[in-house]
């Protein structure tokens, strides 16, 4: 990685066709990553200084929910889709014929996420975790996804020859899971709302399904794409990877029941949650065999960090499904820490690792500064560790103290305060890391400004010509 050698593999027709849809999805996602981290940081700040939380719009509850929407829908799903589009078409060297439709879907998706975040801040949250946004946001997101998903599937199916490679398989599975999941959840929560405790069950089924069935395959595809040549990943144990993938899909939704163990639901559901949560360790280990080892791309260390986060997330999910651990950690800050590790550590860093390969390929220029890459990786790792480990410890302390009835809630929280402070610091570092990444990308664009301008103009012209051609050929 050096600044002199700034011209890398010249973009071919596939890269050119990917530019508009992939860049649109990925850059939109990065903007939400930064917004989401800022909201999370704000939430953490007003939680520790509750007298600051007196503002109607920026209280802890609202900011935490808004951050979840920004990070899950704005960043993770959107960037994951962008990376997914790239993997699908790049791995089989076919240009994207439907780039404009995908980009249009992405615009709509961003509008949807924005209405969700603003809606929550203005006081229209649904109160249902995972689907925290107001009902109208759900409609926009669903329509946007159908546009993106259909455009990708139709475009891919139209030109596809040969056999699917593993990363492509993962992306396709995610593209198929997601619409079913989102539609079912929204119907039951917003359109034909079921009463009582069921929406809570639907929401945890949905959240876990979204993570293990959609975001995990997309991120694994990204991680394996980083270590592949000609679209075929170089894996230590490819058979384990395939088995692990199906194992994950099989267990994905079922683990949802863990969130309600001991809660006001029939006992068999709790038991199912425990069993599914514990079994999860099998696919996680199978996949774990294929996540480490040398990677020679600039984002390689991010991929390793992401892999570590994956194994840790899976192991801790399995461990905390067990009654003895659940009895302590349930309802503490630990589950929140675990979902941050999953979303920011595994998914976030995994997708970013693949962007180190994809973005320069799309632009035709290498990353200008090796030290900025190092800075991004180091700060991301530090931020992640600082925001996760204190809450792991804090959750343990909080849970043990909550289980002693003589501890008042205020004194329990007092014993937790330093852990919460450290987490806030971790989030700040994590935010700084992503700003470094974004700055680096901007630097790349500015360095090659004339080329980028040309490229932006070309991009739009190209799309228009292509659409005209498609329309003509359809006639």
């Amino acid at each position: 990685m050096s600044a002199e050698n700034s011209q890398i593999t010249r973009p071919d027709a596939v890269d050119a066709s990917c530019r508009l849809p992939v860049l649109k999805l990925v850059l939109g996602g990065l903007a939400w990553l930064i917004a989401g981290l800022a909201l999370l940081l704000g939430a953490s700040l007003v939680r520790q200084l509750p007298s600051l939380g007196g503002c109607e719009y920026f209280g802890f509850g609202k900011m935490a929910a808004a951050a979840r929407v920004a990070l899950t829908y704005g960043f993770a799903i959107q960037t994951g889709l962008g990376v997914g589009v790239w993997i699908l078409f790049r791995s089989s060297s076919r240009p994207v014929p439907t780039g404009l439709a995908v980009a249009a879907g992405s615009v709509m998706w961003n509008i949807g996420v924005a209405t969700g975040v603003v809606g929550i801040i203005l006081g229209e949250a649904s109160g249902i975790r995972g689907l925290d946004f107001p009902a109208y946001t759900g409609g926009i997101l669903l329509a946007a996804y159908f546009l993106i998903g259909l455009a990708v599937l139709v475009g891919f199916g139209a030109n596809f020859r040969g056999s699917l490679k593993l990363p492509q398989l993962l992306v396709l599975a995610a593209l198929l899971w997601f619409p079913w999941l989102l539609t079912t959840a929204q119907v039951l929560v917003f359109w034909m709302p079921v009463r009582g405790i069921l929406p809570a069950l639907v929401s945890s089924w949905y959240e876990q399904g979204l993570f293990w069935g959609v975001l995990t395959p997309l991120t694994l595809a990204a991680l394996w794409h980083v270590r592949s040549e000609d679209g075929s990943p170089k894996l230590a144990r490819p058979a384990f990877a395939v088995l692990g993938f199906w194992g994950l899909l099989l267990l994905a939704g079922w683990t949802g029941a863990t969130a309600l163990v001991g809660g006001p639901i029939p006992a068999w559901i709790s038991s199912v949650g425990v069993v599914a949560g514990v079994l999860l360790i099998i696919p996680v280990v199978l996949i774990g065999f294929n996540l480490f080892g040398r990677i020679s791309s600039p984002g390689g260390s991010l991929a390793i960090l992401s892999g570590l986060s994956f194994v840790l997330t899976g192991t801790l999910t399995a461990m905390t499904s067990l009654r003895c651990a659940n009895r302590i950690l349930h309802f503490t800050v630990f589950p929140q820490a675990l979902s941050e590790l999953a979303l920011l550590g595994f998914v976030g860093l995994g997708l970013l690792a693949s962007l180190y390969v994809i973005l320069p390929r799309l632009a035709g220029f290498a990353w200008p500064r090796a030290e900025l890459i190092l800075g991004h990786v180091a700060l991301s790792g530090l931020g992640l560790a600082l925001s996760f480990l204190p809450l792991l410890l804090g959750g343990w302390i909080q849970g043990n103290h909550l289980n002693l009835p003589q501890w008042s809630v205020n004194s329990v929280n007092g014993s937790l305060l330093n852990c919460l402070r450290l987490q806030g610091l971790g989030l700040l570092v994590l935010l700084g890391a992503q700003l470094v990444f974004l700055g680096h990308w901007v630097l790349l664009c500015v360095r090659h400004f004339p080329a980028v301008k040309q490229f932006a103009i070309g991009l739009i012209q190209e799309e228009i010509l292509k659409t005209q051609a498609t329309v003509r050929s359809a006639k």
Partner: protein, 217 residues
């Protein structure tokens, strides 16, 4: 090899299995839960749990919108799962039937604050301390509280313009307002308070009996 159909059906099968197990089956089991009716000595039928009245129902929406669920659960777990009962957060565990009228229930996921499933019960005959919504740290022995309250649901007005409001909060010490000013809860504050007071689950249900009262000897 033709992987397309295999993938499609694999995905369909894995998805539908958990959908059936965690969405359809519970719905079949719980979907038509109804409140429990009982007839008293003079033949009057009462149902538990009772449906919330108007103001409290509005209050539930405020609770949801302000994100109070991020720190408060509303579910009491059995003694084997934690100290909920020992802490006096309820007399018995919560069951699905407790939530039949909630649209939808917000059982919560985090306990930075106490469980509120039986908050109304805990208040007993005391009126809801509205100052808790203005600033929980003004309550006695609660300076360290992390609860943000909802001060934006109160209005400062001048007694000269509006007259002395009967509902104005009595603040003293450092929190006291300047003379001639008063802090009046808005309708929303009253609704949220009504909701919090309405939170109670201590009714006898066939699947969740209340602990037996000590018999007088």
């Amino acid at each position: 090899m033709n992987q397309g159909p295999l993938l499609f059906f694999g995905v369909l099968a894995t998805f539908s299995a958990s959908w059936y197990g965690l969405v359809v089956a519970p719905r079949l089991q719980l979907g038509d839960l109804s409140p429990q009716g009982s007839t008293n000595d003079i033949g009057v039928v009462t149902y538990v749990p009772a449906e919330r009245a108007g103001a409290a129902r509005q209050g539930a929406e405020i609770y949801r919108a302000q994100g109070c669920t991020e720190c408060h659960t509303q579910q009491v777990r059995p003694a084997s799962e934690g100290s909920d009962l020992a802490r006096g957060w309820g007399q018995r565990r919560s069951v699905a039937r407790d939530y039949v009228f909630e649209a939808p229930a917000i059982p919560g996921f985090s306990r930075l604050g106490p469980d509120l499933a039986n908050y109304g019960e805990r208040l007993g005959t005391n009126a809801f301390p509205l100052v808790r919504l203005y600033n929980p740290r003004l309550l006695t022995n609660n300076a360290a509280s992390l609860c943000p309250g909802a001060p934006y649901l109160f209005e400062v007005s001048r007694t000269k313009d509006r007259g002395v409001s009967p509902t104005a909060l009595a603040l003293s010490g450092a929190a006291a307002l300047k003379g001639g000013s008063q802090l009046v809860p808005t309708l929303k504050a009253e609704q949220l308070a009504a909701y919090l007071v309405s939170l109670r689950q201590s009714v006898e249900l066939p699947e969740a009996a209340l602990p037996k009262k000590e018999e007088a000897p």
